[in-house]
Symmetry: C2
Subunit: 343 residues, 2 copies
Amino acid sequence: MAQVIIDNISNSLGSFLEGKYYSKIVVLVDEHTKKFCYPIVKSNLPNHKLITIKSGEHNKTIATCQSIWEQMTNFELDRHSLLINLGGGVIGDMGGFCAATYKRGIDFIQIPTTLLSQVDASVGGKLGIDFLGFKNHIGVFSLPNAVLIDAFFLQTLPKNELRSGFAEIIKHCLIRDKNKWNEIKVKDLINQDLADLIKHSVEIKKAVVAEDPTEKGLRKILNFGHTLGHAIETFYLDKGKKRLLHGEAIAAGMIMESYLAFEKKMIDEKTFLDIEEFLFTVYGRVEIDQIDFENILALTQQDKKNKGKIVRAAIIDGIGSCQYDVSLSKKEMLRALQYYKGI
Amino acid sequence: MAQVIIDNISNSLGSFLEGKYYSKIVVLVDEHTKKFCYPIVKSNLPNHKLITIKSGEHNKTIATCQSIWEQMTNFELDRHSLLINLGGGVIGDMGGFCAATYKRGIDFIQIPTTLLSQVDASVGGKLGIDFLGFKNHIGVFSLPNAVLIDAFFLQTLPKNELRSGFAEIIKHCLIRDKNKWNEIKVKDLINQDLADLIKHSVEIKKAVVAEDPTEKGLRKILNFGHTLGHAIETFYLDKGKKRLLHGEAIAAGMIMESYLAFEKKMIDEKTFLDIEEFLFTVYGRVEIDQIDFENILALTQQDKKNKGKIVRAAIIDGIGSCQYDVSLSKKEMLRALQYYKGI
């Protein structure tokens, strides 16, 4: 398991680099993290180079990888070099993939700067890019040499980005920790103790991933809300204003998949309504047109957890408990979409 | 270590597939293996799909990967699918890379059909593609689920391809087995017992890779002849008629690097002349223009074994024994090129 250090970045970066001799260091940023986060990191680094890419999920492509690999080559990085990924999930996933494949793998560390990447993407070694519109379709499992988390970076985030990351925190409570769920469900986002929740989420994710690094079994529970959530996120990716942040889509997915848990008698009605109420309060109801249902359902077919044509999802069977490899029929998923839409 | 089965393909493929339940099977071929090798494999496979790519090192690119990934996606391969790479090093390296990165990794097996890939590329889990003209610049280490070797496929090979593969066999003897070297050096290629030599080479390579799978130390000895050999191969890659097969370039590289071993007093003169004579007899002298020396030396800078600006090579210090991380100066390499050229 990669070392995860939650501390201010001067401390954690300093202690990571102590006693290490990298022949070259490169920092990967986008235009936002270059402006808001890089100045802090820069002052804690020896001589290094900078690669800047354009922000946004739609740039998480093989074309951007080619540009990153090309710059790494031009900087003459050898196998004893270090890539520092400074940014959200896109930077971490894609920068990690580029490092893991450059000369068959060089060292890299993740410095996640969004709440979402701090509590989710930075832990667990899933790296990759989108391809043909499918999320994380091409990638590898490869652990970073360290993950350095500093809640200070969250000050630079817009509110909707914070809210997006909060969805993964809620998910971690729902699948693994009833007590924490009872704590958070009575407070609005603004009143949550984020520093504590980041630590809590990282611990849950680390424990799950340690047991099953390559998602053969248990790790699949981290996909609760993601079967329908990912499909919705993917569908609206190129729909301009209707585009959703990851957590917004996952929140909708968690409502739908909790509804199916209720329908399958895996949770009782009171539990379901509790979840639904909290998620609607924080996220509202995402607008999904009925005419798009068919295409959204088609996208669930490409989910990496499936076996053959059967969609297999992670579904909670109580607060703090989750089953994986639960088969979902197209009809069930359609009912979940209809329920969510209020039809 | 991946299972390596040396047997006829009906036996090995049958026993590999026994008791396995793949949701889909795809075979990757080029126009040559489609014609000469696929018919034999086809009759030993259940229902499957075929992906055909154009042969040749110059097609071992990210663009070809994109086409392979796209077809894998169109065939709706899930994570429980199998990719069978039927061909030489290009098919094995690139198909393996595509399998190892598709949905973060699906099962794949290598069926090497050239002597070179049977004794070298198929064993050891090095996967990848060329990038910006640099060989295997982008890739991963990932072991196939099995390597199935059938010497029958060699009957379909032109003589120069056989000779190219033979260079890696010679290399394995020079770095690890003096007795075998003494056996082969007195026979012409046509009189060698290839079936025996394939087994011998695979055993040496397996033993070395098992000790050091990701090339942190010992595995580097497999690069004997490759520091200058790779540079020459790369330089002539886009030079039309002057293009060299891998083994032709490595044979030249082995002469040059043995010369440096002699210069550094790591081997005596008689040993060096022995090696030189045998390699010149089998491969002749590759034509390298003096005007290209500078560019060839520049290419050695991008070798993955280097640290910083220092070129580090594997150099024999006796027949059957090899050191790694031997620093080579530009002047030394220039002298080796000049010696080879007969200047």
